[in-house]
Amino acid sequence: MKRNPHADSLPAARTSARSKISLGLLERPGVLGYLLMAPAAAIIFFFVTYPFAWGVWMSLTNKQIGMPWSQVRFTGLMNYVDLLTKDGVFWTTVWNSFVYTGVATAIKWVLGIWLAVLLNRMVRFQRMVRAAVLLPWIVPTVLSTIAFLWIFDPDFSVINWTLRRFYTWMGWGYVKGPLWLGDPTLALASVTFVNIWRGTPFFAISFLAGLQTITPDLYEAAAIDGASGWQRFWHVTLPGIKPITVVVLVFSIIVTFSDFQIVYVLTRGGPANSTHLFATYAYQVAMVGTRLGLGAAISLFMFPVLALVIIFQLVYLRREQA
């Protein structure tokens, strides 16, 4: 076959050279790495960074729903000052948020470790029990919270009904039962309980994964040295799951601190604002009360707290890696 005389013509040579350059660029980790990261970075920019920056900007203005941007004025830190000095509900919200997060996280931690240790020891029905333990986490939050709305109803609560029957059976007379959502302290305890019920499986399954990385030799060695069950737990189990504990605690604190659904469904922040969290109060002020700037300021108060939590996690993990 006669060779095409233009085989080495310029366009073909250019294409070949271009291909070589492109391949060369893609083989460089510095270029390929950024290219592969670009889609994720774009998503984070458009769905996280941009809304966050927009929220910060709005919190520095008097923006209301429907207000034309030509009428929006820059007010500096006035929204923040007003919240700190004039808004009684804001300080109640701060208190509620810290109590809700602190108590719920601590109890989920303890229950999570306990469940994980039990699940780790199980031999029979292990898969079935693990699946059952995960159910509260899997069921959509709003659905399970609606069920709790009935469990906490003062007239139709299954708990109160049982209590009334018990009191009658014991001859102690009539008892209405606790006001789960009607008493300010009990209402906060009730929403915290629902959060614990929902969040404990996440802790349990995460700790279970951590427990299974601890080599049994350590337990045998401890047992040989005469360590009791509690000593083995304290000196082998807990240190062994320390890294996963930090990660799980941080995620849980972030999610719990910014919780919305449970409070919105059960109490909408009542009674008397005793269950308002940052997210629900920001929603009430911004979306229902149309004061977007003030609502943005409320939600941004969460940022310093959560940022500190994340910084702690990063510092701790880097120290562990070092």
Partner: protein
Amino acid sequence: MAKKIVDDRAITRRKFIKLAGVATGMAAGAGIEGVLTSRRAPVFAQERSLHFLLWKNFSPPADVEILRQGDEWGKQNKVNVKIEQINANDLPARASAAIESKQGPDIIQFFHNWQNQYGDSLVDVTDICTALESKYGGYVDYAKTHAMLDGRFNAVPHTIVPNIYVVRASYMKAAGTTRWPKTWEELRREGKKWKAKGHPVGQTVGHTFGDAVDFTYPYLWSFGVAERDDKGRVVIASKQTLEALKFFKALWDDAMDPAGAGWDDSSNNRAFLSGAITATNNAPSIYLTASNQVILDEKGAPLVNDILHVPNPGGPAGVFHYHYSQQLAIPKYSKNAEPAKEFIRWLMDKEQYTKYLRRGQAYQASPLKAYMKDAMWDMFPALKPFRDHLLEGRHVGWKGGADANAARVVQNYVLIDMLANVATGKMTPEESLKWAEGQLKSIYGA
């Protein structure tokens, strides 16, 4: 060289397009081949659409009727009417999202004076309202005030949900009460007896859109309490307010169900229908549910025969009621503002409107005074007391206007929480009054 064999039965690209064009383009009278030949785009009549957002009515037959009417008007006017019904507590957030993003429903239902928070974002519907006013005997005062901002109507008053006291007559009688209390003090005294028998007065002071507002505002007005004076200054910190709060603590402890602090708008209905409470401030929904579902009382008799509808008790400043108005607004972003106006005019026309009110079983009253004589009240005579006290209401924000900040006071439950703080023991009356004053000043800016 091989000869290309052409099979006449084979479908070529040209043949396929021709067939497809004939099959799908017949209605348009052109087909793709016709388009290609004439070099002109086909003209299709664009179907208009209308999206109407309103609440899931506490009277289910009214829901069915509004859907039917939407369908009927849509077919007559070749408009695809989409009616979306949601929980009333979620309406404000949906409206906010739509107005801020400038896309969403073409007609939005608002309660109380919620839409006044959206300033100039709503279409001026003064033309519709003034025509209805002159035709149907004028508007009930507070319903008109709630629908107006800066002298113009930004929403069409649609309905009013009236609220008075709903009472179990037999429970009153069993406790030795011979007539419904005329004052709050009498209610406290008689309610104490009902509570001792296990059937207290039920009232919510929780974060909910209807019953909490319907009780709180007229209760405070009956003690002469006002949020603002007629110059717009916050005047809540008065001796009348302190007296009202101190009395409310006594009323709550002596006569009311403490669970009420955590109730929503349906809780008192359930409590009443299950025999847990003697009386509650409510709309006609309790009676209608008992009637429609043929609920029986403890003796096996129809519960409706034991229900009384009576006015609010009075305070030192008189007897007041609060009936929440519902109005329909058209956002300015809507590209279907004219069809939306036509639809609202049609809905408010007597033929359709009376069907809606009557099929809703008189659960909702009309803000147009002419309908106080409508036959629906004879169809449901037990609900006539709701009509009889319909005019005894005021607007939110009284003595000031029903402006955007008055709506924010409602939406942030300030006055309701002022009562709830005292009822739950979270604050003393003095502390709660100071708290409420701070909240009102931060909203009103005065």
